[in-house]
Symmetry: C3
């Protein structure tokens, strides 16, 4: 995991499959021994995280802040762009110089998709993209895939037999939702686990906006991913092993709701062992009646996200050796 030391986490593209698997193993160790790192062995003691969340968020911000604190680190929070140097007209490069002096790692959520790229060239400390407009949300995708491996550990093997491969239904808009964009990209690094990916969209959207950005679909297919589109959720559901749904796309300082027609409820014809994933926060598209069913892996997904972030942050600030002997 030396790969990850001081590595910026801006896009999923930069990550090798092997590195991700090692990350997930470390996350799993954290998840099975949550207390061991909080009381006695705090690898991030003395390290400072700068949480720069210029776009509304509680879930992601708390997830990172909790992960960092569990490991003994301290954090500094900026949650309002109007109080920052940026309001005074300061350049992103100057903000990056400032962050270099104050912390060891930055987590940035900004509706301006370019900000994380502009800052990462000047930063001498690593930065994590916690969601930049419609572009990416790499750590969310890591949490999503981690959850799939937790559910079906055989998928993490070097060789996955054809009968173990999964069909994933993605109810969302790849061109507008950063969670979906990152998810498809991370899946493309593990084509051997996939039978097929089915992007399911509301019928009316075919005329409203393209499902994929130019080149997005081609890039995914070039990895060996078999990807198909459909607007008939009822027809697809009986064959889906994983049903991933998201309805919100964050665009600029506002958001769009897509896929308003779809609603996952317990009476849909799920495969008995199918799991449902949602990055949360959820709206009506994911009914609470599913919460008490075995299909509910979205709570596990949220829980695992903290441990994935703990693993990632530990490696990025080069403190992995402090946890290795405890694992």
């Amino acid at each position: 995991m030396v790969d990850l030391v001081d590595q910026h986490v801006v896009s999923i593209q930069a990550f090798r499959a092997e590195t991700l698997l090692q990350l997930f193993r470390l996350a799993a160790k954290f998840e099975s021994n949550p207390d061991r790192y909080c009381r006695h062995n705090t690898p991030l003691t003395g390290k400072i995280l700068i949480n720069a969340f210029y776009e509304p968020s509680t879930r992601t911000r708390l997830s990172f802040d909790s992960a960092w604190h569990r490991l003994g680190g301290d954090s500094i929070n900026i949650t309002d762009r109007s109080t920052t140097g940026i309001a005074k007209g300061e350049s992103l490069e100057d903000v990056a110089h400032m962050f270099n002096n104050y912390g060891d790692c930055v987590v940035l959520r900004d509706s301006n998709p370019e900000a994380v790229y502009a800052m990462s060239s000047t930063l001498r400390i690593p930065i994590i993209n916690a969601g930049n407009g419609i572009d990416e949300h790499p750590t969310q995708a890591m949490a999503d895939l981690y959850t799939m491996f937790k559910w079906r550990p055989s998928l993490a093997s070097k060789e996955v037999s054809p009968k173990d491969r999964i069909r994933i239904g993605v109810i969302g808009l790849p061109s507008r939702m950063r969670t979906v964009r990152s998810l498809l990209r991370i899946l493309s690094k593990f084509p051997q686990i996939l039978e097929e990916v089915v992007v399911i969209h509301a019928p009316e959207m075919e005329s409203e906006a393209p499902l994929f950005d130019p080149g997005q679909l081609e890039e995914l297919e070039a990895s060996g991913m078999s990807i198909r589109c459909s607007s008939d959720l009822a027809a697809e559901i009986p064959d889906l092993d994983v049903v991933y749904i998201n309805a919100i796309a964050w665009v600029g300082d506002s958001y769009e709701v897509h896929g308003g027609g779809f609603r996952l409820t317990r009476d849909l014809p799920f495969k008995p062992e199918a799991i449902v994933l949602h990055p949360l926060a959820r709206g009506p598209e994911l009914s609470t009646c599913l919460d008490d069913t075995p299909h509910n892996w979205y709570f596990s997904q949220a829980r695992g996200a903290v441990f994935v972030r703990m693993a990632l942050l530990t490696c990025m600030v080069n403190r992995a050796e402090r946890v290795m002997d405890v694992i």
Copy 2:
């Protein structure tokens, strides 16, 4: 104090008198040895507090945050509802699921009185109601009573002789002020210390709003409390041992000012040993000319509130054993 482990602190109603007395003993230990827990013995190391303050507050938020940090814990803060999942339409139950993943304890202040109840059923970590609209503010009442016992330790005895019982004047509106509602409730658990409680209200308010909610007065009297109303502060003051005053009621996203006619100043005919309590922040109703008099126990009340919260938080997250041998 095993009672308190993982216990939600939503209303004072749930607390037994014996538990409260043990809590106050622990608070008193913290108050007499403030440094012992900060440098060497930090029982909340590795624990995370989620401060969710959706209603304006500095005093209460800082009080909890300070208490938690003094004991070695870390905290995550949410101070603006518009940045949370709630702004995205997320249910309180889902917010509770989220908090379960990120912290060990929640402190909530919300102008919506139902929020703390809605969340406490889903939360698997304990929650403290830090003020919910006009309903309750249980830890403030604990601090108020703790201060009275500090002033008159004989009141904490199993048996209080009639000559030691106190007459408490409460200048406020029981139906609208959460601090008063909780205070009267906590007093009702110790009827043996009370000669009488006199609720003092401005004359004009008799026509504006009922002093008590339906059933509120009856519930208090059923505990053995002798409670009387008056609108003549000047006539009551010479007989009051404790003068409690508050003028602000937080209602929805705004506040009302009550009892504008009353003003405590040093030239009122106080009993020589009478003490004045106020939950603060104060306005003109409590004159600064009282600050330098022996009647001023409101500063001690604010100071003690931190230690009461330290004691409560330590017990709630089951770390009392870490301080017991130091006491």
Copy 3:
């Protein structure tokens, strides 16, 4: 440095030159051994800093928060006056009483210049003025002078030979800019290092506003400082050893831009060894083309500010003995 224990840092006026030099020595130790205090020796463990930033700031707030955390302390943040007791009409003295209960040190930035003075008389814990309207910004001036001594260590000697004295150009408005006011005051404590101070202002400003407040210039000259004004930057630059520039004055809840006519770029006729200082955030007045030149000491200035604050905070809360043996 016993001088500094519990000392309020409101104005530079209160500081003796010898105390400042000792402070800078401690800061230099922190700067040359940044890791030593973060991992093993955390002098501020158990101490709580109250960051009260009622005026927009990221740079200064993060600088203090980072300094405090690096030394093992915890902090509580107030960044919005509308959520504090002040919004409820609470007096500054009552806010100070509140702070006495919750922390060990206060850092205050308030557009109301009187607030820090009003609070410091009631506070029993030390307060640092992090910028109060147009009045002062003492720790910024400490950072500025620390940087000059870092660049030219001979200036810190007891005796400075005439050939080593420096000419400082200050491009700014002494009557309106708190950074300039504090800088000139701290320089006046070291008149032996100065050949001359040249205050450089845009020509049009001579009619708009007085450069100095009544008595300000006289106070500086009384210290032995030789101070001159000029509006011809091009003519002055070839003789300046230090070029200090600032364009923003924070007034009330807004700011003014001064000296819009001046712009420092690399093609100006600087002395070869001249250094440029700017408290940052910068605007067009300091061109990025200077960043890669040897004149750029403004990044070092920002970096050093954290260590100066670490040194100051450590001394103020009387934990200097915890670092002394490590130095």
